[in-house]
């Protein structure tokens, strides 16, 4: 009996190995390793790493550049997450009732999400081209002066945000379509009998019932916007004058450009801490609002 128990134990472990080996190599070990590196001073090349204690963190917190990137990151998160959610909700409300052509609208609106960020960012940088790009040509038609979009520190972040929102709005729309579709119609009918108008129905019934989706999207989109890289790399490379340098871009530059591994690892730890906190919050709230769905 004990033998078969042991055998089934081993068999189960064998089933997990094809996933657990690469997970350990490329997830769990790197995670532990980056914590270790954040307490070390290292330049990637030299064979020795020296213990630095909390110096990397201290250096980071004293570095004005770090706060500048933090500010850009917050602007980027707020400027991408909220419009993506608002646009997704608005489009889902427009599409929620079955109507002719609905599937075509949905397909077109969702399509940017599927395409490679690098390729579509290149298309957008052609639109933003200052001399003959579409954006400035449209302004010129209206007699307005052109803007040097990606080269202007006041506009560069807006340009990156437009691309990000354009790419993701359809994605959040799909979630909202499902959420709105599962609002029980009798609730809405009952409210209608009580004389509620469209806005009241939306505010008092639909919006509260889809709040788990709203919260889920908020967390997932914030985590993904903290990790935005491709569009920034193609459009602005963090410039001009650091106006689009997010914390992730800062991390990338300190690691692979300046080779300050310890400092970069400290940035990674902060990034991980932020994302883990957001995920835990979402698990916790998900537990509490489970009765909604």
């Amino acid at each position: 009996m004990r033998r078969t128990r042991l055998a089934s134990e081993v068999k189960a472990l064998l089933f997990t190995l094809p996933a657990m080996i690469p997970l350990s190599l490329f997830w769990f070990f790197p995670l532990a390793y980056v914590i270790y590196l954040s307490f070390m001073e290292w330049d990637f090349m030299s064979p020795v790493k020296t213990f630095a204690g909390l110096d990397n963190y201290r250096y980071l917190l004293d570095n004005p550049e770090f706060y500048r990137t933090l500010r850009v990151t917050l602007l980027f998160c707020a400027g991408s997450v909220l419009p993506i959610m608002a646009a997704g909700l608005a489009l889902a409300l427009l599409l929620s009732r079955k109507r002719r052509g609905g599937a075509i609208y949905r397909t077109l609106i969702f399509s940017p999400w599927v395409t490679p960020t690098v390729a579509v960012s290149i298309v957008w940088s052609w639109i933003y081209e200052p001399d003959v790009g579409l954006a400035n040509n449209v302004l010129r038609v209206f007699g307005l002066p052109g803007v040097r979009w990606l080269e202007d520190p006041n506009w560069a972040l807006v340009c990156v945000l437009i691309v990000t929102v354009w790419k993701m709005a359809g994605w959040s729309m799909i979630f909202y379509l499902a959420a709105i579709g599962s609002v029980p119609p009798d609730y809405l009918e009952a409210a209608e009998l009580d004389g509620a108008n469209g806005w009241r129905k939306f505010r008092d019934i639909t919006l509260p019932l889809i709040s788990p989706t709203t919260f889920f999207l908020f967390v997932v989109l914030t985590i993904s916007s903290l990790q935005a890289y491709d569009q920034i790399n193609v459009l602005t490379q963090g410039g001009p004058a650091g106006s689009t340098r997010t914390i992730l871009y800062f991390y990338y530059l300190s690691a692979f450009d300046a080779f300050r591994i310890g400092e970069a690892s400290a940035v990674a730890i902060l990034l991980i801490a932020g994302c883990v906190a957001l995920s835990l919050l979402s698990f916790w709230i998900g537990r509490r609002t489970v009765h909604y769905s």
């Binding site: 089933f15 996933a19 790197p30 390793y33 969702f110 395409t115 990790q227 994302c275």
Partner: protein
């Protein structure tokens, strides 16, 4: 009343059409710019339709950089990763849902922790690991470092949890091994989840840029995004090759748009499934 309703329907259609046009317009503009001559691109006001479509731009762009190689790299690496993930996610999820073992709780917790960690944050230590393994600048490195996905495991686990354990027990009574039960009984029942896994993983890998760019320097190993980007940087430096750059972007994007049009039902369903998967 009915007049009001008609007006509202018209307004809704107008807003939806405006949104759809806005979303699709960059693709249209890309295609049109790819067909223009350099002269026409510099003309004001811009033309919405090329005077005489220059189809040779596509061939010129295709020959200007090894795009065939880039695309083959992306498709090949993506396809191999999909196959490996089907196997290892299937086996892992099967163990977590239909087998009893002591470390089950620990492994579930570990994957959950892994799920919360942002991928990009472990790129630096991941790079060090890959270099120690001697896998930088190799197909093996590109494939192995992406060959497991916690999202995929969760997705399959979610599907396997819906499958009655009695089916597994019935298979065991018939003397079938776990591997056999997994691939002949459980897998077919969850094939729609595996289809989602395959599509999402392939799209993700085809579009992957940051990590492959970090771990490969050899131009022969570049995936399509990195290849396109270096073509863009070279062409952009002179600022004259926009039609070719747009043509190259177009044939990079096209396979995915076609894939999306063919499988849009599955892809849109997968978006919603991903919410379920991440709820654990």
């Amino acid at each position: 009343m009915s007049k009001n309703r008609g007006l509202r329907r018209l307004l809704t259609h107008f807003l939806l059409a405006a949104a759809a046009v806005l979303m699709a317009f960059p693709f249209y503009w890309m295609a049109m710019s790819a067909l223009k001559t350099n002269d026409e691109i510099w003309r004001f006001p811009p033309t919405l339709w090329p005077h005489s479509p220059l189809w040779s731009n596509f061939a010129d762009a295709w020959d200007a950089a090894p795009f065939a190689r880039y695309m083959l790299n992306s498709v090949l690496v993506g396809a191999v990763i999909v196959l490996i993930q089907i196997v290892n996610s299937g086996m892992m999820a099967y163990a977590l849902t239909h087998m009893a073992f002591r470390l089950k709780g620990v492994f579930t917790a570990l994957t959950l922790v892994g799920y919360m960690v942002p991928v990009t944050a472990v790129y630096l230590p991941g790079y060090v690991v890959l270099s120690r393994l001697g896998l930088l600048d190799s197909y093996a490195g590109l494939i192995l470092s992406n060959c497991v996905s916690i999202f995929s495991i969760f997705l399959v686990r979610q599907a396997f949890m819906q499958i009655s354990h009695e089916l597994v027990e019935a298979g065991q009574i018939d003397g079938a091994s776990h591997l056999r039960i997994l691939w002949t009984i459980v897998f077919p029942l969850a094939r729609s989840s595996f289809a989602v896994l395959a599509l999402i993983t392939f799209i993700e890998q085809y579009n992957n840029y940051f990590w492959p760019m970090l771990i490969t320097k050899n131009p022969d190993l570049q995936l399509v995004s990195a290849g396109l980007r270096s073509f863009f940087v070279q062409g952009g430096a002179y600022g004259l090759k926009w039609p070719l750059i747009m043509a190259a972007s177009a044939f990079t994007i096209l396979p995915l748009l076609v894939l999306f049009l063919l499988t849009q039902k599955t892809i849109m369903r997968s978006v919603n499934l991903s919410a379920g998967a991440s709820k654990g």
